[in-house]
């Protein structure tokens, strides 16, 4: 198999994994688990191969893969450039880690129909990877449907109100998808093509530049994507849907779904439309950045009000979406670099925190702040991982959270958008309050144990199983590694991902 086939293997491996799990996963729990992990491992290694290929030829342009050997625009192509190579690696890596992590949690949470759960797990990953890799605007929609359908099913597999919360998400998600499809329809009517690169080439025609229907298409696609990524004020569905569901699902869906939607937004802005179109013809920049600032503030305040750990994290996601949308719309290189870099770093941080909280819940059976009580003694490794994730969320060097905030802040200052800068700083402060409060709760042992004997009882160390610890450790390590290699990532990849006309 030649080197260029890696691009399609990235998507096919989880797809075939899903089919094989569906066929033989019912035999035994372990068969389903191992098939999933193997499929995602193949996919991840292909993303690494593709990433190194793209990095080696970053200056020459993207890799193209023509499906069915049909030249675009007649057929569909995959286009891998530095931007989506990074996102692909993040998505495949995080999903592989979550798959390994899921061994014990899925067994406890959905013991029956486990192979159906894993089938949908693999389909969700295939959908997300396909969305990221494609160079065809309609193909993106088809894969969005797969990712959305699979995520609805996975989110509904929680307990209690999960069905109701997911139902709301289905309504919102479907409206978002309809908006996107309607926008694609307008674009097709006006340009006659579905290939992103060709559409962008047509976009410079003056007739299209000032066409009302193209403007409406842009608005529809943006609003549709904002619903999908839970951008304030369209975020109402997210906290409930992500909180009520099972641990495994929230670990998988929370770091990936919103991030991929942000990637699609950036891709549509600069890969289908053009930089002058997004920034100048629409004239939205300031309004969107203000909205993003509001999202950050609202998400942070929302997080502050929660006593449920998972729910707190979901509100942080709402704030983080504000970071990325704001960064992308600041209109300068630093802001966009921050937004792209934050897709990677936020994926890792969210995965790390959700997995750590999941492990704590797994051992204590609690999900409230009280679950943290004495966690440093009972689960020292998990607690340390949680601290790394928390520090990254606050933005303390050398974690990757610091560097994305750095780029976003300098972008905000360069654009003279002080509201966004203040919102970012406010959110960092709120995150500091949130996480240091949790660290404090976690550092002190149970009060009951203290009061009875007047001294600390011997605390039994009860760590999470190894299958959970190892992926969490790798995620925490990656937060630090990505942080330390920031300059290499930015100068070697993200710089080439910026549209022409924006340079660092």
């Amino acid at each position: 198999m030649s080197l260029e086939q890696h691009a399609i293997i990235i998507i096919l491996a989880p797809l075939l994994g899903a089919l094989v799990i569906s066929l033989i996963g019912g035999l035994h729990r372990r068969v389903a688990y191992l098939t999933l992990v193997a499929a995602l491992a193949v996919s991840f290694s292909s993303t690494i191969a593709t990433l190194s290929q793209v990095a080696a030829r970053a200056a020459e342009g993207p890799l193209h893969y023509f499906l069915g050997d049909w030249q675009p625009p007649y057929g569909i192509e995959l286009v891998i450039d530095p931007l989506n190579a990074l996102v692909l690696t993040m998505v495949a890596g995080v999903s592989l880690l979550v798959a390994i992590y899921s061994k014990e949690t899925v067994r406890r949470e959905s013991p029956d129909r486990l192979h159906h759960y894993y089938t949908l797990f693999a389909l969700l990953v295939a959908g997300l990877l396909g969305i990221t890799a494609t160079g065809d605007i309609f193909n993106l929609y088809v894969l969005t449907e797969i990712a959305a359908l699979a995520s609805y099913a996975l989110l509904a597999s929680g307990r209690g109100f999960a069905y109701y919360a997911t139902f709301k998400y289905i309504i919102m998600g479907t409206i978002g998808a309809c908006f996107y499809l309607l926008g694609v329809g307008y674009l097709y009517i006006k340009t006659g093509t579905l290939n992103m690169a060709e559409m962008q080439a047509f976009m410079t025609r003056p007739a299209l530049l000032h066409s009302e229907s193209i403007r409406v298409a842009f608005i529809l696609i943006m609003v549709g994507l904002w619903i999908k990524m839970a951008f304030f004020p369209l975020h109402g569905w997210l906290p409930n849907a992500y909180t009520r569901t099972s641990t495994t699902t929230s670990c998988l869906v929370a770091p990936l779904m919103t991030k991929v939607s942000v990637y699609v937004m950036i891709r549509v802005m600069f890969g289908v439309f053009t930089l002058p179109y997004a920034y100048h013809v629409m004239g939205w920049n300031t309004a969107v950045v203000w909205l993003a600032s509001l999202a950050i503030v609202a998400g942070s305040i929302g997080a502050l009000a929660q006593t449920n750990l998972k729910r707190m994290l979901t509100y942080i996601i709402v704030a983080e979406v504000g970071y990325m949308v704001g960064g992308a719309w600041l209109g300068n290189a630093a802001g966009l670099t921050g937004a792209i870099y934050h897709i990677i770093s936020d994926g890792l941080m969210t995965a790390c925190l959700f997995m750590a909280v999941g492990a704590i819940t797994f051992k204590t059976g609690e999900i409230n702040l009280e679950a943290m009580r004495g966690v440093f003694r009972r689960m020292p490794v998990t607690a340390a991982i949680f601290v790394v994730g928390g520090l990254a969320m606050i933005g303390i060097p050398p974690t990757c959270g610091f560097f994305s905030k750095w780029y976003l802040l300098s972008g905000g200052l360069a654009a003279g958008h002080y509201g966004f800068v203040v919102a970012l700083l406010f959110s960092s402060l709120v995150n500091a309050v949130l996480f240091f409060r949790l660290f404090e709760i976690g550092y002190y042992p149970l009060f009951d144990a203290q009061s009875e004997a007047g001294q600390h009882d011997k605390v039994v160390v009860a760590e999470a199983p190894l299958s959970m610890l190892v992926p969490m450790l790798i995620t925490a390590a990656m937060i630090l590694v990505v942080g330390l290699y920031t300059s290499r990532i930015v100068s070697g990849l993200i710089e080439y991902a910026l549209p022409a006309g924006l340079k660092l």
């Binding site: 066929l23 499906l67 069915g68 569909i76 159906h116 193909n139 088809v142 797969i146 597999s157 006659g192």
Partner: protein
């Protein structure tokens, strides 16, 4: 809440009306969609794929990758219903109440169904097999096949239909159909061409590249039909019985 909804709908309506202003008029031969890709497909598709049905050529060859994933969407929907409805033990009482006092088998319905079902299935096979020459194809044929089984389940009962088509096989074939589609593409990849480049089958089957395109399309249509058939049936039996696979509607 109602007022907000009204405002949103009004804004959306104005937006869409403004967009409608500069859309090309209905059936305009000079519209971008008619002059760019359509011409190519109309003129070249028979030369390149040897399939006279242009819609099928675009669907199952030029944009075959899309169609693969559309089949996966159907498969995904089926698994979703299974994951949500089929839980043991049940956590809440059944929502669908069983039919009160079933008055026994209805001989007219059952006889009609017995006569109809083979016809439907034969016609469905024709729709699948002839899909790349005349209107039809995998989705359509699969739906007719699925409908024939649903008709059986409706006029007799779900157990009878399941006796004819065991649930184990329903699940096996629903994944198998997609797998057949993907495998046809993967063989091309294995033979050194790109995924879904049907031309790679030419040497394997000992036919020309053009015929390989036509045969490849037939193969993927069969895969689509199998998945659609199984998922339609699976959706029906699960939804109609609330996941219990008993008497049903």
């Amino acid at each position: 809440m109602k007022k907000t909804a009204l405002i949103i709908i009004a804004v959306l309506g104005i937006l869409l009306l403004r967009a409608a202003e500069d859309l090309p008029s209905w059936g305009d031969p000079q519209s971008p969609a008619s002059v760019h890709l359509s011409n190519y497909y109309l003129e070249e598709s028979y030369e390149e794929t040897s399939v006279p049905n242009i819609v099928t050529a675009v669907l199952a060859d030029y944009r075959s990758y899309d169609t693969l994933f559309e089949t996966v969407v159907i498969f995904c929907a089926g698994i979703t219903v299974l994951l949500i409805l089929r839980r043991t033990p049940r956590r809440w009482p059944k929502v669908i109440s069983p039919r009160p006092n079933r008055p026994g088998a209805d001989i007219i319905l059952q006889t009609a169904a017995r006569l109809l079902v083979p016809m439907m299935q034969l016609f469905a096979l024709y729709v699948v097999a002839h899909g790349h020459h005349s209107p039809g194809g995998g989705f359509q044929g699969g739906v007719i096949l699925g409908a024939s089984l649903i008709l059986l389940a409706l006029s007799y009962d779900i157990e009878m239909a399941l006796h004819r088509f065991k649930e184990k096989f329903v699940l096996l074939f629903s994944a198998g159909g997609v797998l057949l589609y993907a495998a046809i593409g993967l063989v091309c990849l294995y033979l050194g061409r790109n995924f879904l480049a049907y031309g790679a089958w030419a040497d394997l089957l000992g036919i020309s590249e053009l015929a390989a395109h036509s045969h490849g399309m037939l193969g993927v249509e069969i895969g689509v039909a199998i998945t659609v058939l199984c998922i339609m049936f699976s959706l029906y039996i699960d939804l109609a019985s609330g996941g219990d696979l008993d008497e049903g509607l």
